[in-house]
């Protein structure tokens, strides 16, 4: 099992804030909108240095999505910022009609996704957003794993023509992605080569998959670990190549089983290469208040849960 050294832990939302600020300097067409959550989205630096390209919308997310669609007419590249819950479910029809169906070049940037929002509880812990967004035709869906990758993703989506959903979060997690690693939309990142099982993880579960890989190595299990930061378009080639080699698959994500990364991979395997699959995800449940670590443990989204899933799926492998 490869080692993944890191010097510090940071929140992914700060990676977004840093990327947005850099875009402010490098791309004059980038504009930002926020629905009363500048601090939470780490947009302060952009707001301070590029006030004429920042629009405070107030607590009016539906209007924000419409404004963003309108700003593209005239060549702007709008980045909207609010919590994941208010970036998706609350404004689904606005995104569907004014952005996705209209093919507008809007970047929907969503923080505080999933259980790791913590104490605020289930009203704010959306676990359905990936599913909602990936169902929209031509919507690109990205869920990076750490600070560096979120920053790189933020820069990359500005150069991509079309609507994007960029999902990140609040907790501080190891920042192990090399700062100079280019972000390729739709391309998985092979973290560890292995032969016994393929673990496909996205977002905060990528680090948990690395921790699980170490535990599995101690048991003599050699796991292939792939970071699928892009849920849509899915890197079908990399997934199939890995699955055909290891003959069993575990998916891991901070999302409902229905509609998430595991769901996309299950569809792919069922069509192309039916193989045993286990999903580490929330199983048809809302979250609740608690610390992020408590919640990830209670809802089975940590390294121990991934190890259990690996053992289960390997037992199902055909000899």
């Amino acid at each position: 099992m490869k080692d993944f050294p890191y010097t510090e832990s940071k929140d992914t939302r700060s990676g977004f804030g840093a990327g947005l600020h850099e875009l402010g300097k490098t791309n004059p067409n980038v504009v930002a909108l926020c629905a009363d959550l500048i601090g939470s989205l780490k947009m302060d630096a952009f707001v301070k240095d590029f006030p004429e390209r920042f629009f405070q919308v107030g607590i009016a997310e539906a209007n924000m999505m419409g404004l963003a669609a309108g700003l593209t007419i005239g060549g702007k590249i709008p980045f909207t910022g609010t919590f994941a819950n208010f970036s998706t479910g609350r404004v689904y029809d606005q995104i569907r009609q004014s952005i996705a169906y209209s093919g507008k070049n809007v970047k929907i940037c969503a923080s505080h996704a999933g259980l790791t929002l913590g104490e605020d509880g289930a009203t704010h812990q959306i676990l359905e957003d990936i599913g909602l967004m990936k169902m929209l035709p031509h919507m690109c869906v990205i869920n990076p794993c750490d600070y560096n990758q979120t920053k790189a993703a933020t820069l990359a989506i500005a150069d991509y023509e079309g609507p994007v959903y960029l999902r990140f979060g609040r907790p501080v997690v190891p920042n192990f992605t090399p700062a100079d690693q280019p972000f390729e939309i739709g391309k998985g990142v092979l973290l560890n080569e292995g032969a016994d099982v393929s673990i496909f993880a996205t977002g905060h579960l990528v680090w948990k998959a690395i921790l699980a890989g170490k535990l599995l190595a101690e048991k003599g299990i050699n796991a292939e670990i792939i970071n699928l930061h892009t849920i849509k378009p899915l890197d079908a080639q990399m997934i199939l190549e890995s699955a055909r080699k290891t003959r069993c698959v575990v998916t891991a994500e901070e999302h409902q089983m229905n509609g998430g990364l595991g769901d996309s991979i299950a569809q792919l395997l069922a069509r192309e290469e039916p193989l045993p699959l286990e999903m580490v995800a929330v199983n048809d449940s809302f979250g609740e208040s608690g610390t992020p670590d408590q919640l990830m443990e209670k809802y089975g989204l940590n390294e121990a849960a991934i190890v259990r899933a690996v053992e289960k799926v390997m037992a199902r492998k055909t000899k």
């Binding site: 504009v31 004429e52 390209r53 629009f55 919308v57 107030g58 009016a60 539906a62 209007n63 924000m64 999505m65 419409g66 404004l67 963003a68 669609a69 309108g70 700003l71 593209t72 007419i73 005239g74 060549g75 702007k76 709008p78 029809d93 606005q94 569907r96 009609q97 004014s98 169906y101 209209s102 093919g103 507008k104």
Partner: protein, 296 residues
């Protein structure tokens, strides 16, 4: 930012007389009733009621370049239709002002057409800049487009039309708060105040009350006009244009009649989304005489 020269923009209108505009409006109304009749679906009532506005904008008021169509519309006045169900009037006016062939009106609501039931950009129909149909979204989009113009140093104007029933959507009021707060003063919005919605009169279904007082309290500049009479409508639009750039967005409340121009369709919500039958079409066309009819 490069500004197009006058010769590149569509300014037919500066020269159009009210008599000529009335002829165009009659032809547009013929298109509307024929289009909805042909597919036995669509929304004639609101389309007929807003014909003067769209004809006035596209044939007299707006500086715009139909061909080649440019989505960004830099240096052009832009129009957004928020109440997308009145697509028949929008399509007819776009076709007759040069955005696409008039003959294409015959494909309205048919399979593989660019003229979807509600306006869409998805099939790349020239003249459409955003999809509409699900109500309440157009004021936000138009406001964003107006702010993009300001960022671009583009002095042209953004126009948007909403239905009155549509004002029951919450998003309208989010945008209504936002635009004056951000001094979006290159925006002229219109409300088609015909007093009707699908289930009946607006004041019975979800009373809108005193719209002037409401929008004024939100810090809009509010004008009122007869929306079915070119002289007063054009005078009001001219007044609205004179108020641009003064720190406030402008709202024009248009008193209109649903179904205007066809006597048996006028003033009733019953023709909101119902097509005329063969006999009714014939009767309607008799009332919509033009000197040189050029039906598609």
């Amino acid at each position: 930012m490069a500004q197009p020269t006058a010769s590149e923009t569509h300014t037919p209108a500066a020269t159009k007389s009210v008599a000529e505009l009335n002829q165009i409006a009659a032809q547009v109304r013929r298109d509307i009733v024929r289009m909805v009749h042909a597919v036995n679906s669509g929304h004639p009532g609101g389309s007929l009621g807003c014909t003067e506005l769209l004809v006035a904008l596209y044939f007299k008021v707006m500086q715009h370049t139909p061909e080649p169509f440019d989505m960004d519309g830099i240096g052009q006045d832009l129009f957004f239709l928020s109440n997308g169900h009145i697509s028949p009037v929008f399509y007819s006016v776009l076709a007759r002002s040069g955005y696409f062939p008039v003959s294409e009106l015959a494909t309205f609501r048919k399979l593989n057409s660019r003229l979807q039931g509600h306006p869409a950009t998805h099939e790349h129909l020239p003249g459409i800049r955003v999809a509409s149909g699900s109500l309440g979204q157009g004021l936000s989009v138009a406001t964003g487009a107006a702010q993009a113009k300001k960022l671009n140093g583009d002095k042209s104007t953004v126009f948007v039309l909403m239905g009155d029933g549509e004002l029951q959507e919450g998003q309208i009021w989010e945008a209504a708060l936002y635009a004056p707060h951000h001094k979006v003063d290159n925006l002229i919005a219109f409300v088609d105040r015909n007093g009707q919605q699908i289930d009946g009169p607006t004041e019975k279904i979800g009373g809108l009350g005193d719209l002037r007082a409401k929008f004024e309290s939100f810090n809009w500049r509010v004008l009122e006009t007869d929306g079915n009479q070119f002289e007063t409508l054009l005078a009001t639009i001219e007044e609205a244009q004179s108020l641009l750039g003064q720190g406030q967005p402008i709202m024009v409340l248009m008193d209109t009649q649903m179904g205007f121009g066809v006597d048996f369709m006028m003033g009733s919500h019953k023709w909101h989304g119902v097509a005329p039958n063969d006999e009714q079409l014939e009767k309607a066309l008799l009332q919509l005489e033009v000197e040189k009819a050029s039906d598609y």
